[in-house]
Each structure stands twice: as C-alpha cells, then as structure tokens.
C-alpha cells in the first residue's frame, strides 16, 4: 500500500542509454528537439514547456553562456588602461576585463548547464514514458493530470522546488564561487577592475600552510588557539552547565523555575547587546577596573582584554557566562531521566558523591548528549560572536598578518575579507575550517553510540 516503495535504482546514464535503444523515432528525436515526443503524441503544453526550455538555453548560451565559459579559462587578459586625451577631461579609463565578474558569469553558466541537463533528462524520460503508455494503448495524462501528480506522487518535487532554488542561489552558488577563488590570486594586490587575477592552483594553500611567510606564521598559532579555545570552551561549559543543572535539580532547592529563568536571561538577551556591554565593563578604564581600584584591591588596571594571556582567559570566562545556561537547559531534562534507584543502590554501597558523579551521572549524560557536544565543539570552532564582539580578536600583534592574539580562524577570515580584501586567502582559510569541522565530526559521529539509524524512531 505504501506509495513510497517504488524507487528506481537505475542510474541516470543507463536509463538514457536504454531510452535511446528502446525508443522509437519520436523518442530518439526528442533527444535533440526537446518535447517533440510529447508534442506529437498530444501532450501539447508539456511539449511546449520542454521546447521553450531548449530554445531559452540555446539563446542564453549564444548570448552569454559560451562567453562566460571561455572566460573561466584565464579570467581575462585585458587590463584596464588609462588613456591620455588631447582635449578635456584629458584622461579616460578604457575598461578592461573584470576577472571577478568573469568568474561569476562562468560559475553561473556552469550552473545553468547543469540545470539544463536535468531538464533534458526529464524530457527524455517524459518522451520515453509517453511512448510506453501509447504502446500499451493507455491514455496519456493531460496537463491537468500532471499538475495533480505534483501534489501527490511527485509532491517532493513541488515542495522542494523553491527551497532548493533559494539554497542554490544563496548558498551553493556563492560557495562554489568562493571555493574557486581559493585557487586564484584574488588578493589585496589583484583587485578588479583595476587589476586582473588568475588561476594559481594550490599556491594559496602552500602559502598559508607551509611557506614560512608571515601568513603561515599567523595561520598555525591562530589554528592552535582555535583548537585550544574549542576544547576549553566546550569542556568547561559542559561541566559547569551540568553542575549548575544538578544544583538547581537538588531536592532541597525551591523556586527551580525562577533560578532557571535567571540564567536563561543571559541567552535570551541578544549577544550584540550582552557581549558589547561586557566589553565595555571590562575595558581598561571601565567600571570593573574602576570598582576594584576604588575598593583598593588593585593599584593599576587589569588588562582584561589588552594583554594576551588575560584576554584569552577573559574570553573563555565570558563564554562561560554565555554558554553555561545552554548546557544547563539541555542537561536538566536528561538528569531528571536518570533512574533514582541507581543512586540509591550506589549510596548503599558507600559511593561518594564524586564517585557517583563520575561513574553514573557523567556517562549517562554523555551518552544522551553526545551529538550535542560535537555540535558545540564545531560551533565553538566557528564561534564568531564571542570573539568578534568581546575582544575583536585583540590584542593585535605585529607578528601576525591581520590577526590578533584571540582571533579564531573564522574571525581572521572575516578580517581578511572585510579589512584587507584578501579574498583568496580568506577562501583558503574557509576551506581549511571546513576540513577541520568535517574531520572532527566524522571521527566523533562514528564513535557516538547515540548516532542510530533514523528509521528506528519512526
């Protein structure tokens, strides 16, 4: 009875081959004139749609597509020039090639070609199906029937169409564009339209990773701090969040809801408010230093965010303020699910509270929240807000290229993009961050027992 059970496992190319072999003359012609089989067999509207797709594609390719593709080859050769004229305004800029636009149009052309291939395959399928139905003497579905099918058996196609278009335009296309930029020299010195940039292969990766120039002398320490930060930020938040949840869950404690709400407030306030406020409170001459000084506890200000070691500790501590309530929220429910009798029998056996925490609570909570922990780790590798809003990556360092001592790879990427326009290096770092996240989650997910087949839950 299940309508879902019919899934074809044939691969695309095999299907096209079979369609060509078994197809009659109309189907075969449809390989070249899209929609022909449908048109002749009476599915006029469907046929016309396919045909207009083909015409539109040919029109696009002639007008822009071919040029776009060939531009991909070397991203422009003609540099913009200034020409001296004999009469006012005496100077004229002769526009040259714009490598950035050429790359963009090239990528768009590739996307349109892929989209066209999908449409073409659908056309072959439709042509072949129409032939089969006619051969069996059946009645071809009318256009209305086709639309109806898109709300039933083919619902996934209709529902996914708009979301997928959005993702393609605003996520995949920009991402492909940026990934390609990692293989060009689109940096500070090669900015179109004044200058051209071109393909450089893996040179950026070499420069960033192994060159020994300032940029690779920046990459490795920043990478190291990113890892240290991610480990400490995740681990400390997790432990303290769980302890806080246990404290609130204690039998003797009343007003549990009130306590929870107090802590949740710090998540609820937007980070650009709370973190910027923290930054101001922790400034060298800010209220915290001021109060400590007037209380006579310190003689000169504490460089909370202006000295490397202090700044690193400060961002970790402030991150506790942000992160502990999250873990508390998540683990509260888990803790309440632990069967009470395990603790009872442990108590009878004379287990200390610490032993019970290490042997019972921790493993249980870890088991349930394993995937959450991995997410948190990846999230912390990419924790832009805390660093950017709080320390701005500072204190800045002359040994580093455009980075400060608390900069993570992502905030460095942001600075390279916005302040320096070193797009090629930014893209390279983006890819490296991706590799890091992918490796971490691959290793972690394989080891977590909570990662079960999704079908089990249905």
């Amino acid at each position: 009875m299940n309508k879902n059970s019919k899934i074809k496992s044939e691969n695309v190319f095999k299907f096209i081959g079979r369609a060509f072999k078994e197809g009659d003359i109309l189907t075969k012609l449809s390989f070249f004139i899209m929609g022909l089989s449908n048109l002749v067999r009476g599915q006029i509207i469907k046929g016309l749609i396919f045909l207009s797709m083909e015409l539109g594609f040919i029109f696009y390719m002639v007008m822009a597509g071919v040029a776009g593709l060939s531009g991909l080859q070397n991203l422009g050769t003609k540099t913009q020039e200034q020409v001296v004229l004999s009469e006012p305004p005496y100077m004229k800029i002769v526009p040259g090639d714009n490598s950035m636009l050429m790359l963009l149009y090239g990528v768009v052309a590739l996307f349109i070609i892929v989209a066209f291939f999908i449409a073409w395959k659908a056309n072959v399928k439709a042509a072949f199906e129409a032939q089969k139905i006619k051969e069996k003497g059946g009645k071809l579905p009318s256009f209305i029937d086709d639309i109806k099918a898109h709300f039933d058996a083919k619902l996934h196609k209709s529902l996914l169409f708009f979301p997928m278009t959005g993702v393609l335009l605003f996520t995949v296309l920009p991402l492909v564009f940026m990934i390609l930029i990692a293989f060009t020299n689109f940096d500070n010195a090669h900015q179109p339209p004044g200058n051209l940039f071109t393909w450089v292969g893996l040179a950026n990766f070499k420069t960033v990773l192994f060159s020994g120039q300032t940029i690779s002398k920046t990459f490795w320490p920043v990478f190291g701090w990113t890892i240290v930060w991610a480990i400490f930020a995740t681990g400390l938040n997790y432990i303290f969040g769980m302890l806080l949840a246990m404290l609130i869950n204690r039998k003797g404690v009343k007003f549990k809801g009130l306590w929870r709400t107090i802590f949740v407030l710090s998540i609820a306030v937007p980070q650009f408010v709370s973190l910027l406020i923290m930054k101001n409170m922790l400034a060298d001459k800010g209220p915290i230093n001021g109060m400590l000084e007037s209380a006579g506890l310190i003689s000169s200000y504490i460089p909370f965010l202006t000295q490397t070691m202090w700044a690193r500790v400060t961002v970790l501590v402030v991150n506790l303020w942000i992160g502990v309530p999250y873990t508390m929220l998540i683990t509260t429910g888990v803790l309440m699910n632990i069967p009470e009798d395990i603790y009872e029998s442990a108590k009878i056996d004379g287990a200390s509270p610490i032993a019970m925490f290490v042997k019972i609570t921790l493993p249980y909570v870890l088991f349930v929240t394993g995937p959450y922990l991995i997410q948190q780790f990846i999230g912390n590798i990419n924790n832009f807000n805390v660093i950017f809003l709080l320390s701005g990556g500072g204190p800045s360092s002359l040994d580093y290229y455009q980075a400060g001592k608390t900069d993570l790879l992502v905030t460095w990427l942001y600075k390279l993009t916005v302040n320096r326009k070193d797009y090629s290096f930014a893209a390279t770092i983006g890819i490296l961050v991706f590799v890091l996240s992918a490796v971490v989650s691959l290793i972690a997910y394989r080891r977590t027992s909570a990662y079960k087949s999704e079908e089990d839950f249905q």
Partner: protein, 287 residues
C-alpha cells in the same frame, strides 16, 4: 536514632544553605551585566563608562533622544525596517523549512539521502566565507542596499535548516499518513490537513527562530547596506553607535536601544526554550 536523624537534617540544612548561597552568588554574577545596561540606559551623565556601578542621576532622556534625535541615526525607522524584514523573511523561511523537513521526513525518493548529506556538508563551511560572493550576486541583480536583499539573504538558504523540524516530523506516527492515503487523500492533503495541524509546536518554533534572525544579525546587513543609514536594522544601528566617533554621545542611548530590542527578543526566547531543548537534543530529552 533520634540523634542521628537530627544530625542528618542538620547536614541537609547546611547543604541547602550552601546551595542557595552558590545560586545567589551566581545569579548576581549572571544578572550584573543585564542590570548594568538597564541602569546605563537611565543614566543622566553622558559619556561612555563610569568607574562606578550606580549612576549619579536618572533620566528618561536617553529613550526620548533615541527617537527624536534623527540627524544621524533614525532608530524608529530601523525598528520598522527590522520588523518588516523579520516578518517577510519569517514567512518565507517558515514555508521553506516546513516543506523541506516534511519532504525529508515523510516522502521517499531517490535523491533523499544524497540531498541530506549535501545539506550536512554545506553546513560545515563557515557562513562568512560566502558573504562577499552573496554581496556580488546581489549587486549583479541590482539589489544591494535594499530591504528586499536582506529578506532574500535571511530566507534564501533557510531550506538547509530543516534538521530540527525533520526530527519533529519523524516522531509523528507514520500510520496516520498511511491511513489517510488508503482513504484516498493526496500527499498534499495529508501535508496541509493532517501534518501541519498536528505540528503546532514546531511551527511556533520555526516562526520564532526565523523571526528573531534579522534582529540578531549585524554582519550580513553591514556588508549589504554599507553606509546607507536609512536602511539599517536595529542590530547594525546599535553596533554603529559604538564606533569611535559616536560612542561618547551615544553610549547611554545605545543602552536604551538595547533594552528596547532585548525585551521582545528575550520574551520570545523564554517562551520557546522548551522547543529549543527538544531541537538541540533531537528529541532525546523529554524533560
């Protein structure tokens, strides 16, 4: 025997006392920054920060000036901008997220697994990496410095965030769908007449999260809007007030603006914290 119980209850009392003590100390630490921003928003003395905690004088001027001093910054307008963008992108993203998650949870088709894997992989690239490319694409279609561009940016990729809602749909018994199919309902009817009414909580969650997005982002909007102050959203506007040339005059007003923005956002978040927990743990926690 009675002596032992008394010492037991005594120990319990001390333990409770210390629990409360720790909780109170922690609560103070957690509340200080929030109290400080509220106090600052009513502070009569201008200037950035003071070396003392409680202001010397209180005033409502900062709130008034925020709306009346419109020479450089136009807070009321920013509020309206953000609200419009939030409503539009929330409508689009909610549809995108629900459609995608329903399809991935309930319908079976050849490309399902590959698409889900692609979504996972795409999510692992740092979001700011493609920021500049998005900007150039928007520039290519002539949309930069407009609210439409913001709506597109916030809702365009929303389809990728289907995991939480998919987890929810996975828990709705499939037998209901199958029964409806047998009775001759189309899949579209099952989606609109059965699944959606059954999924109020996840719809509320999706609507609220996508509504909150534009209030919190200040990066994409700064790249897209540049220096067009008229089209700013509150987050970017408030951020701008803290730049060197404005901070002395605007800091207390920044605090006032922050309070005004934080109240609705905090209220929304506290309302939906339950869904947040379910989402983050994939329904593994039933608290």
């Amino acid at each position: 025997m009675s002596k032992k119980t008394r010492s037991m209850s005594q120990a319990k009392k001390t333990a409770n006392f210390f629990s409360y003590l720790v909780l109170i100390v922690l609560s103070v630490i957690w509340l200080v920054p929030i109290v400080w921003v509220i106090l600052t928003s009513f502070r009569a003395e201008t200037g950035t920060y003071t070396p003392y905690f409680f202001p010397k004088g209180y005033t409502l001027d900062n709130y008034k000036k925020l709306f009346t001093d419109t020479n450089q910054f136009y807070f009321a307008k920013w509020f309206a901008n953000t609200f419009i963008v939030a409503v539009c992108s929330c409508l689009i993203s909610t549809f995108y997220v629900l459609a995608t998650s329903y399809v991935m949870s309930r319908l079976r088709f050849k490309m399902r697994k590959p698409l889900m894997n692609v979504a996972l992989i795409l999510g692992m690239f740092p979001g700011f990496m493609s920021m500049i490319a998005v900007y150039y694409i928007l520039k290519g279609i002539g949309l930069t410095q407009s609210l439409v561009a913001l709506v597109l940016v916030y809702s365009g990729g929303a389809g990728l965030g289907f995991y939480v809602a998919k987890g929810f749909f996975d828990t709705v018994p499939k037998a209901i769908d199958e029964a409806a199919w047998i009775d001759g309902a189309t899949k579209w009817q099952v989606f609109t007449k059965l699944t959606i009414p059954l999924s109020k909580s996840i719809i509320v969650y999706t609507v609220l999260t996508s509504f909150m997005g534009p209030w919190l982002d200040y990066i994409f909007v700064s790249v897209i809007m540049g220096d067009n102050y008229d089209k700013y959203t509150v987050a970017l506007g408030l951020f701008k007030m803290l730049e060197r040339e404005f901070i002395t005059q605007w800091f207390t007003r920044y605090a006032a603006g922050s309070v005004l923005v934080s109240i609705p956002i905090a209220a929304l978040f506290i309302c939906m914290q339950k869904y947040y927990v379910e989402g983050a743990t994939g329904g593994a926690v039933k608290g």
